[in-house]
Symmetry: C2
Subunit: 576 residues, 2 copies
């Protein structure tokens, strides 16, 4: 991994550059955020020629390390106006890493109306004018590209939403089954669309095993690491059996399952949309309850969910999406939720932003509560086709709420708040408010310690200790996001003492270095600070590190709690 591919879409050229010394120790999020902060003017228009899109495998991507198949995509977000990093699975990370490419930087934008497809290979990039796949959903694009180029190519593509430059659009990545994984949040699809790229195919020709400086040590560390993944009850059992949907009943029980656009903390029909119900249906219909999103995954929290007739309906059907459709939007039929999840993947839209936006649209009276059929119609007829109505919705949760003058708009920095109500689970509220990403549970998953008693226990209803908890988790997450490891390794990392040292050992064995745990923490801190500086320079000052006012004004059932964290205490987050 000693090359940077710098792709210029203004003149359709590529430069293959050596890795600058300063970037040598970086990967994944650390690298994408460093490059964006160094090269993108913070106040530029996110869809203009000065924004860039960076793809970077993690420091352990491409190796035999368990769960290291993820990579990062970074940019300035057209949704939040700040820096953005998303992590995705799929097959491309491994290929890119094993071609020796440390990062792909896409810059500039073409002047005309022509769209392009790019083929990234070991020696360079081919630029092709693209017409065949324009207007297609992601599944069809993957099929076409596979037919055109071959089964083993990685595919990074847009659905219709990205072509329309919608803020709800994401970037889709082909997974091991030819299905879709996503760089989900912040409208990254619109950035790729603004550069007129329909897809990037990654040619596996010439992939090579990556050099491991101390192979024996690496294998030993990986064994230890893998064992901790299997031993921890969350990563080894809960997620494997029920997927992330295991959380529906848990969060409902905690009174933190935002229901009917955040007007209640428990949902009457939670049983009908639970992980347990999902598991039963999957098993009864010949689906797969456990399934990897990328090569080398040990947790297998994905699934294959079939319909009543045993036909494929969706996979990678996450708790947050299920929550947003089932509880926040009141759709009681799990099969309809699954069908919608699949359409989200196909159109290439953020499966958190989009359903949270729909719940706000329901509150505005644009469609009835719980009407999944109407939602499907709107997705197909308006969002896919980019009608004016579809464009209004495609601008995201905040845009729809503002167009209707609503005061209950669940966003931070313009990005939709996910599946955990911050009034009842204060730690996640700190993460939503302070993360550089806009509301994002993955940035510092306080649910672990507030609810799941992983890494100790901090009372979810008390403000005490939440800032420190969120800060520690955000620092650790920034480091994990730089390794290419799945974030769910955090569960054993927080509870089993041998886990994190094993990760550090793998890094040291891979590169012949001698990092300590402190170095890893320092890396996480550095990443957060780089991102924070970018956001400040982009205009996202401390006043944007807050939750929407309605959380302070409207008590949440059943605990009848509001968001009441002292603003100064919240602001102390950045004192590190």
């Amino acid at each position: 991994m000693n090359k940077i591919f710098r792709i210029n879409m203004t003149d359709l050229t590529v430069k293959i550059e050596p890795v600058p010394e300063a970037w040598a120790g970086l990967g994944g999020r650390a690298l994408t955020s460093t490059i964006i902060a160094a090269e993108v003017p913070p106040t530029c228009h996110a869809l203009g020629p000065n924004n860039k899109l960076v793809f970077a495998p993690g420091l352990l991507s491409g190796t035999a390390a368990s769960n290291a198949g993820r990579f990062s995509c970074g940019s300035k977000s057209p949704l939040t106006g700040g820096i953005k990093e998303c992590s995705a699975g799929g097959t491309s990370s491994r290929i890119i890493a094993r071609l020796g490419i440390k990062a792909i930087i896409v810059e500039g934008q073409p002047a005309g109306d022509t769209w392009y497809s790019l083929i990234v290979g070991k020696d360079g990039v081919e630029f092709h004018a693209e017409t065949e796949t324009l207007g297609m959903g992601t599944f069809e694009v993957v099929e076409k590209v596979t037919a055109r180029l071959g089964e083993d190519f990685g595919v990074i593509t847009l659905g219709q939403a990205g072509e329309h430059l919608m803020a709800i659009s994401n970037i889709s990545v082909k997974d091991p089954e030819g299905k879709i994984r996503s760089f989900g949040r912040g409208g990254l699809g619109a950035v790729m669309g603004s550069k007129k790229i329909k897809f990037i195919a990654v040619n596996p020709e010439g992939v090579a095993n990556l050099p491991i400086v101390d192979n024996a040590k690496f294998k030993e560390a990986n064994r230890t690491f893998t064992k901790t993944l299997q031993e921890h009850p969350v990563s080894g059992q809960g997620l494997k059996k029920y997927g992330t949907a295991v959380l529906v009943n848990i969060i409902n029980e905690a009174g933190g399952l935002p229901t009917r656009n955040f007007t209640a903390g428990q949902c009457e029909h939670h049983d009908q949309i639970s992980g347990e119900e999902m598991y039963d249906r999957i098993v009864a219909r010949g689906g797969e309850p456990s399934h990897p999103c990328s090569p080398g995954c040990q947790i297998q929290c994905s699934q294959v969910y079939n319909d009543k007739d045993g036909k494929y309906l969706t996979s990678g059907f996450e708790y947050e999406t299920l929550w947003a459709l089932g509880a926040d939007g009141m759709i009681t039929d799990l099969d309809v939720c699954a069908e919608i999840d699949n359409v989200f993947d196909d159109l290439g839209v953020d499966s958190i932003e989009t359903p949270v936006m729909f719940a706000v649209a329901m509150e505005a009276g644009l469609l009835p509560w719980g009407d999944g059929k109407r939602m499907l119609e709107i997705l197909h007829e308006d969002i896919a086709k980019g009608t004016p109505f579809g464009r209004m919705l495609g601008a995201g949760t905040a845009a729809v709420g503002r167009a209707y003058g609503l005061t209950r708009i669940p966003v931070v920095k313009n990005q939709a708040i996910p599946a955990y109500d911050p009034r009842a689970i204060k730690g996640i509220g700190v993460t939503y408010a302070t993360t550089t990403m806009g509301a994002d549970h993955t940035a510092g998953y306080a649910i672990a310690t507030n609810i799941l008693a992983v890494g100790g226990k901090v009372d979810p209803l008390s403000n005490d200790g939440q800032v420190e908890l969120s800060r520690n988790l955000q620092i650790a997450t920034a480091a994990v996001d730089s390794t290419g490891l799945c974030l769910f390794i955090a569960f054993p990392a927080l509870d089993i003492p041998t886990c994190l040292p094993a990760v550090v050992d793998m890094l040291n064995a891979r590169y012949g270095i001698s990092l300590t745990l402190d170095d890893v923490v320092a890396l996480g801190k550095h990443v957060l600070k780089v991102e924070h500086e970018f956001n400040l320079a982009a205009g996202l000052g401390p006043e944007t590190d807050r939750l929407p006012e309605f959380f302070e004004l409207e008590p949440l059932t059943p605990h009848n709690v509001t968001w009441d964290m002292n603003p100064k205490e919240l602001a102390s987050f950045w004192s590190f």
Copy 2:
């Protein structure tokens, strides 16, 4: 003017309070901004219960001073997210002042769905559940209220756009002819709508002449002041004959008339939409070229514009609206522009934000360039009725541009940039970027000195001296906006040495005080700083004091200039 009316819409009560010592020397904008800054949490939701709406006549309102018939409305803007002050004419300012009311503060909001009308009288406020006028345009509301209460009542009302809580909505004020004047910008109509007030009627019963401490001195100063208004060629002749539309040809000649959504600086058909053409039509059709917006106006820049059959079409038809329709939106038919202007008044929408939004919508392909008929249809069928399409448009220029992923979105702090291209007229660019109001030409009208050679001459194409020019103008404007005087007194004030001292003399004679010119400048500075502090605390940091990136990237014909002011120089604006 020794009373504050504090109206609470949560419990439908009013408190009549004495004027606090600290507010005694304030009026108009100085008072509204001081109250908003003191009482509204800067990060509150602008349409929630914590925002307030303040109406305040100026320090000279209600007296015999020429051109003192205006008043201010202040709030936190749902469009910009910052503080907002608008000035309007009409008859209410004079009545409120002569009832001895220094300010009306509207706070809270009702819980239910009932809308209200309020009758403000000398002894208190009546609250009535309102149904008859709901859904009506402003002209019909004024008719109904006049029929219900009497000819002499002041009326402050919303059109349909304010009822829909649209960010393009404004607050309308009955003028001396029963037509409409507006608190135009920043979505103030949505704030009044969020408090469920369809109209406020002001009962003139009990109006009294205001005490003048030194009547002889006041009269003498007013004579001197009035003479300067009549003597200056802009206020005494240009504006009287052609209205503000006199600027079409002047700004076109300067190459600063933004055309076709800011893609050119001159408009081919400028003759067809000029003030001269407007004058000819008005005279030929029996309209009135000169007409006051409020009692006591000497400038009379308004007009009555009739259609071909001599029937009333519109009045208060301003250059900025005409520009936005005719040049920015390419509508070549002046009569169609006049008809649209009248519909803007009727729906109660900002006649800058709305047509600039339409030009962006034209660029997005939502309607053909120059299609005024289609625009009228959308106004009647979508915006008035609040359809989803209408709501998208009603969210304003930036919202439409973002929904379509455009990069050429002419806004600052989310508010549409008016009729003067900052690439060709640098001074106004400084005002757009730095004013606390979001893009607003009236905040510091650098056109005067860049183009009209009023107050000296600063080369419009050079960056030299523009920051200082804009700063001085913004300070002076903040002071003028606090007096209740029309901003156009700035023309003689900048050129005729006796003008400003006469204004100061009137203030001193009215209140028996001894202000100097320095005190007035200090007041202006103080107002700007109070507003700026509010904005900083609301999250509008220095990074938002800038023009959109496309002005830096796209040269403007005919001068082929970009916006190239050094960001540090621009930031030096606030060093005072």
